[in-house]
Amino acid sequence: MIQLVLYAMTAVGAFLAALPERIRRRKEPRLRSTWQGCLVCFGAGVIMVLAAGLARMNGQLLLGLLQGSASAYVFAAVAWLAGLVAARIKERRRRT
């Protein structure tokens, strides 16, 4: 219940923080969702929750980093290295 409230209020907080900029740029064209983006987001959400569960890091990553857990630092380092490669490949494909 607490985690659900935290998660829901995160969206509310992001919406409220973005509100002034939205009002200021209300006449400019807004970013719109694409079906490819929706598909990528759904798949990435499933995969990441399962991967975090495999590493026993569901909800523990940030806590582990702050409290000095060795496995959290190893997980973050490995994830960043893999993310670096994936992000570079994706950006290269997007720009070509």
């Binding site: 907080g13 992001a14 582990g64 630092y73 893999a82």
Partner: protein, 237 residues
């Protein structure tokens, strides 16, 4: 009371995520790929300051160290990290930032991300049956970097001070990221040349060089003498 605290923390977290541009998938992807150093710098600074303050609060016993748990480091940590990072780098969002994506411009992408996380959470109990085989290729244990708990094994001596130094190192790393990609400072535009003190003294065929803060220097180009010589040659010739 806990629900109210969680709501307030979530509200603040969402605002911070929006200010850090974590709701923009492109920015997150570029930060992970070291293509947006300003975002990476903010993330490292936030993490480093958080680690330092957590170490301080643990040392002051504000945070109960009995609640600190060290997850097991084994093959699942490495394998899960690779899969998690690849998905993060490809999509540009994580389970934590999907809420911020939901509250930003691209509502439907955020909704799909939240739905994907929920689907993953529902599938997790079934996937747990296959996890022991994926974790077993590397045996390990639960460690903390420094001795910050009473009974968990630790890797280095140093206690809370060492943990705070780790946060300091992360902060320094964040500052170095900014410096490494900093553009060279642009030179200040040159001051407009001051008007000649006495314009009537300046001849038409003279080149005037004026430096800031200096008296005007009049340089005779010699063109007048050349023209006079040409006239004399023409008259004689």
């Amino acid at each position: 009371m806990e629900v109210i605290l969680a709501g307030g923390a979530g509200l603040a977290l969402g605002m911070v995520m929006q200010r850090l541009h974590l709701h923009r998938r492109e920015d997150v992807r570029c930060a992970v790929g070291l293509l947006a150093p300003q975002v990476l710098r903010k993330l490292l600074l936030a993490l480093g300051v958080g680690v330092m303050f957590t170490a301080l609060l643990m040392w002051l016993a504000v945070i109960d160290i009995d609640t600190v748990a060290a997850p097991v480091l084994d093959g699942g940590t490495l394998l899960g990290g690779v899969v998690f990072g690849a998905a993060l780098g490809w999509s540009g969002m994580g389970p934590g930032t999907s809420g911020a994506v939901l509250g930003a411009d691209r509502f439907f992408e955020g909704a799909c991300a939240v739905a994907g996380c929920a689907a993953g959470a529902l599938a997790l109990p079934y996937a747990e049956k296959a996890f022991p085989a994926l974790r077993g290729w590397l045996e390990g244990g639960g460690y903390t970097l420094f001795r910050v708990t009473l009974d968990e094994p630790f890797l280095f001596a140093g206690g809370f001070l060492g943990q705070g130094c780790v946060g300091l190192l992360i902060v320094i790393a964040g500052l170095c990221v900014r410096r490494a990609h900093e553009e060279p400072p642009q030179e200040a535009p040159a001051a407009a040349p001051a008007a000649a003190a006495e314009p009537e003294d300046v001849q038409e065929d003279a080149f005037v060089a004026i430096l800031p803060g200096e008296e005007p220097v009049v340089v005779d180009t010699g063109e007048e003498e050349v023209e006079e010589e040409d006239k004399e040659d023409n008259e004689n010739g």
